[in-house]
Amino acid sequence: MSGIVRHCHSQRHERRRTMAKPIELETTLKGEEARAFNDYVSAPSQSFNKESLDLFREARQLRKDWHR
């Protein structure tokens, strides 16, 4: 690989390094979003579709060493 090509590869690599956006750990809710979130949190229950209920059941049945 020539020096120029290697330099271009390196530049592309450097550019790629900055493309993924950082993980946003925190969500801050204000106004209407905060009110709606409170309604959700305060609701005594949630109606789940069958696919989700099956997913939860299968998730509970997984072996603890699912990642080796």
Partner: protein
């Protein structure tokens, strides 16, 4: 040929894992995250990435962190019932999840979500974790995926993503 999900192998991303062939044309961000950020995030304990192989092929990955949801809403009823009602909740954050080009629509995403909830159920018992939170791409198909696979509801929207959560206390035990 459809993927045989029974043959999927899940493992933790390692320094030696070759991720260079992973392609996700739906999202530069997802591909770039795995190629350039996932390993360093793992060293720094910002996120842990789990990879999924089908035979020799790296077909999918997901990354988890601990997140937080803060709300400025004052719940007067809860204030009467509790001295110090929470306005901040811990959450398991599904920071990234992606399936490689050519393998989507075959149930691999659902298999990954099973592992996410398996971990969330453990966490909520062991350290306190109220929600699973995802940062979803603003795309109807993506949003439908989370509604179908976990009953996620939207809580926040910005220019390029929608944040969705599911309250672990609302999930029935059986």
């Amino acid at each position: 040929m459809p993927a045989d999900i029974n043959n999927l192998v899940f493992s933790k991303l390692a320094e030696t894992t070759d991720v260079s062939m992973f392609r996700c044309s739906d999202s530069d961000d997802l591909q770039d995250f795995l190629h350039s950020a996932a390993k360093e995030n793992q060293v720094q304990k910002i996120s842990t990435t789990y990879i999924v192989h089908l035979g020799p092929e790296l077909v999918a990955f997901f990354s988890l962190s601990m997140g937080c949801i803060k709300s400025d809403f004052v719940n007067r009823k809860m204030t009467l019932e509790m001295n110090d009602p929470p306005n901040s909740y811990p959450a398991l954050l599904l920071a990234r999840i992606a399936t490689r080009d050519g393998y989507r629509g075959q149930g691999i995403g659902r298999e990954m979500m099973k592992r996410v909830f398996n971990m969330a159920f453990d966490l909520t018992e062991q350290i306190g974790c109220r929600f699973v939170k995802v940062d979803a791409k603003k795309d109807p198909r993506t949003i439908r995926f989370y509604e179908k696979n976990g009953g996620f509801v939207r809580i926040h929207e910005n220019n390029d993503s929608i944040q969705m959560v599911v309250d672990l206390t609302k999930i029935p035990h059986e």
